[in-house]
Symmetry: D2
Subunit: 255 residues, 4 copies
């Protein structure tokens, strides 16, 4: 039985608007990616989520996104490399404020939504994002989707000294070119196929692409979506053991 | 000749909108209070202002305000104590991101605009603000207006272990009750009276209230407004020597 | 059996964040107060809510609030009278855009949250708000809480030619001074007492204050909160008949 | 001497941040494109700019943009067609509120910044934008850049019944493919070449592309940038007569 890190996006409420079931999910995962106020999250939510995660021994990641509350940071925005840098620096900083206030530490950085696309638009954007992580994260560590194809961004991060934790997504479909997408309506029997996708990935180290071909995939974390309770069932059903809350990606507890 | 710290609010531009003459003022002052994005400032501006201040040896303060871009943080907003806490924690954090990225350190925290009124509305708000500074600032130090009357907020900060640097305002009018206000139209010949106000404060340790009575005032910094070039002339004309950029409030250079 | 207008705040979602059960409530009420983007609501939501209300024959009110998404427009913000005017003018205008696009008409204006407090802070604010309604609403009509005490704001509106529709709140507690407040924890058995409050108000034209004394109240609409399904049960249980969707406050259908 | 409409973007201040010299420019132009709060402008500015334009007899256009204050609406944002529609509907509506309050009328709509790129990304976006103008503007009229090449968006607008007023830009460079761009550093002696560009356009109906070839161009308005005083000198030096403030694109006064 493989022990594996389970990460989940959290702290995505904004003011009166609640999103996600953070209190249900927190006791079950080992890592939380916490929104930093640009695409979701607000100061109260950031402070409270960091506190709650700390209380549950869940390690904390900053989850910076694009400054687009209206679009939840999911719409591509043509920012410049120095904006990529500054947006990550100030968001990681803002969460670090909450992290310090809670007397804990920042474990990793994970880019949100269309910010992941931005860093793939050019080498300058990739370099800016990596530099921002190096300049602000006490332990430069990036969570990034595992892909069965060459991946310039995580390569650049690794080359510059950032530890990269690759994540597997149970409920997304792997395109033949390695990109991930939400299942098209009807294409993907989420529950069953997701369980099967995790099981195969864990046992054989491969996923089936949407074209039906198996491709190899390496990962040390599984990312679930907190607003679907099924996500956790999927992971459990797949037969792996979720790392103890607070454990790192290798199943070891954080210091 | 007294050597004294000169501080100025900076980094108050937002996106395409420029405010202040930061490049003119930076070489002349010893401390910069940098906006953190809630009432003014944006990620690019924060990163650039921190860098420029560092280059000029000017020490850096975080200048958190109310989340009211439209009102520049100057309109009272009835927030709760836990919001006061979270707003300061995340803003100081965001600026800390830029500070760390520039390889420098955070010298102090100064509250902006109506946030200064918020912390005076109740003991809970005061305590929340002080706690936020203690929880995030590596060297808990508050810039706060010197007042010729008892001042519960700075007393609370001092009592809890925050160093308080009291500031004198050359171009504001001291009311008999110790509050400061912009001069009413015609009431205050800014240039002449401001020079006189600084001179008297430096030499005799007192200011004249708007009622004409002298009251004692203690301070170790002078706050000038960066958008008025006269501000600096005022200080120079008053006969004091501005601390070397990068010097602390006692005229000693920061480590 | 009295036929009465039932109004409900709607369109309070923002981007990915959903709030309220508009699709459930729309078929049951006769008037919708639709958020205009300052405290809640966004362009897509405004356009869709106006369309849905129109489809159900529910008359449409603009529901302008303070520019405070983070606080849902519920925190007092010290704006100036010309800001009160401009905030209402542009919010009513924005909703009018959606109203015109749907080929329908604007029935009324209802102020949201702390904006209702702002217009009570001074005669200037009251005058500014009334003028804004007169300047933009094709049929100047205001929804406003019925109070068992003299009410300067609605008096001013009426005096200036704005039709005032007074609303009764089933689930709020009437203080002896006429102000309404959410029930304190345990003070108010919402379901039972709310039914009783509506029943008494409809049959006897009075409410019991929190001090237990009956005071007279006149109203021609009942305001329910869309996020609590009980609200509608309360009204039904009270024995009145809700005006047909699209009916005005007198139970007559809108032209 | 040709009499021609001169239009200028206005109302681009936001809160305390001032932009443009609206008071200087307003007496000199015949049409104002007023920001609607998404990329620039705020309620006070919208109301005041509409009033000032009305006082000077300058006709008023709504100038909707992308919801990106931080980027001044100049960065491409990947919105969906229904967002294009809703963003234009609510922005035109918001300005209409100010227009109605000033007792005047809306003359035209002009898209701002990257919103002009959005409507060129697909037929769906173009149709959505045209529909939004038809659904909200009392006189459906679009200001759009004149191009020496086929232009699908203005064709679609015209085909659907929107009057299109084509504008010539004195201080932009025409690429061989018809696109306009700010002059590269040194490429364009703004003052002289701009005067020459307007002169040639007015007399010969053509511009020189950056490749040096003359191409025909038809237009009935000239767009100047309000933050450069030279813009007006350019137009005057070109020998044309600016339409009287309040005149329409044909030099006739608005009703």
């Amino acid at each position: 039985v493989r022990v594996i890190d389970l990460n989940c996006d959290m702290g995505e409420s904004f003011g009166r608007w609640r999103l996600g079931a953070d209190d249900v999910v927190l006791p079950l995962v080992s890592s939380a990616n916490i929104a930093c106020g640009f695409h979701a999250g607000d100061p109260l939510t950031m402070v409270a989520t960091v506190r709650d995660a700390t209380r549950h021994g869940v390690v904390i990641g900053a989850h910076p996104g694009l400054p687009d509350l209206l679009g939840f940071g999911r719409r591509h925005l043509a920012i410049a490399p120095d904006e990529t840098y500054a947006y990550i620096v100030t968001q990681v900083g803002a969460l670090m404020g909450a992290v310090q206030a809670a007397g804990t530490r920042l474990h990793h950085v994970k880019l949100h939504g269309a910010m992941t696309v931005v860093v793939e638009t050019s080498e300058e954007h990739a370099a800016a994002a990596v530099q921002a992580i190096l300049d602000t994260a006490p332990e430069p560590r990036l969570y990034w989707r595992a892909a069965p194809v060459p991946d310039p961004f995580s390569d650049e991060a690794r080359r510059r000294g950032v530890e990269v934790v690759l994540e597997m997504y149970p409920d997304l479909v792997y395109a033949p070119d390695g990109h991930l997408a939400p299942p098209a309506r009807g294409e993907f029997a989420v529950l069953d196929q997701a369980i099967e996708q995790v099981r195969r990935a864990l046992s054989d180290g491969e996923v089936l692409t949407s074209a039906g071909a198996p491709v190899g995939i390496e990962f040390s974390s599984i990312c679930v979506h907190g607003d679907s309770a099924e996500a956790l069932d999927i992971v459990r059903a797949s037969g792996c053991t979720i790392a103890a809350p607070g454990a790192n990606a290798n199943g070891e507890r954080a210091a």
